[in-house]
């Protein structure tokens, strides 16, 4: 049996439950919002066979030898109530620690994978050293430094941390007028071309090409076309290797495919929202995920 832990407001979590059930996989779902709102938890390290999570309706025994697909999203920062905030923090801390320690299969195991996706310049340096082509970037709070970089070609502005944000092209005039008093700015050289999203699950790679009129295809009103895509063999092998090197079972890779055929790597997401891509692929990503969760031997 697979335990799926996440939020009932997370479309990827809901998608996983739906497809896994359709594939005939036995899944025990735990909605963390229900645990925080009216339930409770008891998680012990080392596990003593008595760990559980509960909603107001049921108590779920947590098997340390089980297989876990987790999307732990800590909602403490958006809570007004200090009590609810403390419960979110307490639950996500406890669950992450427990999942790190148990011998069962956990995708992706908290505490065991690199988090430098939350520090984009560090992440980009890591990806470049791993053999991927990565667009140059500058991160600074100094307007003159940012302008010097922007004057040498088109740039996009991106979030530095792992916070979800829409990437935009920013020109020199907008940069001159931008308020730089609060946060540093991360600019990356813009690459024109189609987007490619590849999901790595273990040694499987599922890629899709996105042709979009928007700079960031995830937002905007422009026309978008999606098509299955096969990465060059050496690139596919590289991202499988680097996913593993980062301590991940699963990652969502973003590329720009330039007209000259270069795949420019933008980032590797350690908790990919993969549902939209999977729907268009007929559930192949979820199939790989379930294969990973059910057939590979457990590792502590």
């Amino acid at each position: 049996m697979i335990y799926a832990i996440g939020l009932d407001s997370d479309s990827t979590f809901i998608h996983f439950l739906k497809y896994a059930t359709e594939l005939g996989t036995e899944v025990r779902a735990v909605n963390l919002q229900a645990v925080v709102r009216g339930g409770g938890w008891r998680l012990r390290i080392p596990d003593d066979g008595k760990s559980w999570l509960a909603t107001s309706e049921e108590r779920v025994s947590m098997d340390p030898l089980g297989s876990y697909y987790n999307r732990i999203i800590d909602l403490s920062s958006v809570q007004r109530s200090t009590t609810v905030r403390a419960r979110w923090l307490g639950l996500s801390t406890a669950l992450s620690a427990w999942l790190e320690h148990i011998p069962g299969r956990v995708v992706n195991r908290p505490g065991r994978f690199d988090l430098h996706n939350s520090a984009k310049p560090l992440h980009e340096d890591f990806l470049g050293r791993a053999g991927l082509s990565v667009p140059a970037s500058i991160t600074s709070s100094k307007r003159s430094t940012l302008l010097n970089f922007a004057r040498n070609g088109p740039v996009i502005v991106k979030a530095i941390s792992g916070m979800r944000a829409t990437s935009q092209i920013i020109d020199v005039d907008r940069l001159k007028a931008a308020d730089l008093s609060f946060s540093p700015v991360h600019l990356q050289r813009y690459v024109a071309g189609d987007d490619v999203r590849a999901h790595v699950v273990g040694s499987w790679v599922h890629a899709e090409m996105i042709r979009s009129e928007d700079v960031d295809y995830r937002s905007g009103d422009g026309r978008r076309e999606f098509a299955p895509h096969t990465l060059p063999d050496d690139l596919a092998k590289t991202i499988v290797r680097v996913t593993n090197k980062m301590g991940l079972d699963m990652a969502g890779w973003d590329f720009k495919l330039a007209p000259d055929g270069t795949y420019w790597c933008l980032e590797a997401n350690p908790m990919p929202g993969y549902d939209g891509y999977d729907r268009r692929m007929g559930g192949r990503i979820t199939e790989s995920l379930i294969e990973r969760l059910t057939t590979t031997s457990a590792t502590a």
């Binding site: 409770g40 012990r44 390290i45 003593d48 008595k50 403390a86 406890a94 941390s161 540093p184």
Partner: protein, 266 residues
């Protein structure tokens, strides 16, 4: 550059030592102030530059004021991303240089931090996370006396030994702690370590064990607190502080500060 919160006594004390020893006044900045100082250029082909490139002494980035709102957390995450990168990539010495998994490898779970440090292979006290205070029969099936369990309210930080309850309304984490245990703090700087008491515990090898733990946690500067039994015959880790407080390092501050300066001067 010292990155610390206002009122950090270790940061202040180190800044004074730098002034005294090198006749240089170090910059003491909060996390957001520090991040604004850096410009990081990444070429994408394995070369990069960090400016300014100067020795760093990093302390815990708490920034409680910023954490109160979602907007504040977003900005704090952005600043943290810059400092994390700058401190990781700078060619200058950095205490404590961040890891690929965060500023340190410490976990909010004490048991997990011990496991990561390698100390838990020797012995670890169980740690229980719960939404409500545990009932007597839920603590441990092997019959560890109730009086050996201490609970902490994770919201208020208050700690109480069972059967008393900590102040607050949870959630809780609970650990086994034998009453009457002695505690010894070992301060680690690089490959040096000092016990902070004068009790003869030489046979326990706490300095070398602490040094190995700090290395596994990827830190240069740490305080490891050991629980020592009444006969001084055995010790198990009780607490690992990767951002030690001044009271923990005060008894050996002259040795510790000298070692910190040696590293920062490399």
């Amino acid at each position: 550059m010292v990155v610390a919160e206002k009122g950090d006594e270790v940061a202040q004390a180190l800044a004074e030592e730098v002034c005294r020893s090198w006749a240089v006044r170090p910059l003491i900045y909060s996390l957001p102030q520090a991040s604004r100082m850096f410009s990081i250029s990444v070429s994408g082909d394995g070369s990069y530059s960090v400016e300014p490139d100067l020795p760093l002494f990093l302390r815990a980035p708490q920034q409680r004021r910023w954490r109160r709102s979602f907007r504040g957390r977003v900005h704090l995450a952005e600043h943290a991303g810059v400092l994390w990168t700058a401190a990781s990539l700078t060619s200058s010495p950095c205490i404590n240089r961040p890891t690929s998994r965060g500023f340190t490898l410490a976990s909010t779970s004490a048991a997990i931090t011990e496991l990561r440090s390698g100390l838990a292979a020797e012995a670890t006290a169980p740690e229980l996370f719960s939404s409500a205070l545990p009932d007597e029969d839920i603590y441990d099936p092997q019959g560890v006396p109730l009086s050996q369990w201490c609970s902490q309210d994770m919201a208020t930080g208050d700690v109480a030994r069972a059967p008393h309850n900590p102040r607050g309304c949870g959630p809780y984490r609970t650990r086994q702690r034998e009453p009457g245990t002695c505690y010894e703090t070992v301060v680690v700087v690089g490959n040096e370590a000092w016990r902070t008491s004068t009790i003869d515990l030489g046979n326990l090898g706490l300095e070398s064990r602490s040094g190995e733990a700090a290395t596994k946690l990827g830190v240069t500067f740490a305080a490891i607190v050991w629980a020592v039994d009444r006969e001084y015959a055995a010790a198990v880790p009780a607490r690992i502080d990767l951002y030690p407080k001044y009271h923990q390092v005060a008894p050996v501050w002259s040795e510790v500060s000298a070692a910190l300066l040696r590293i920062l001067a490399r």
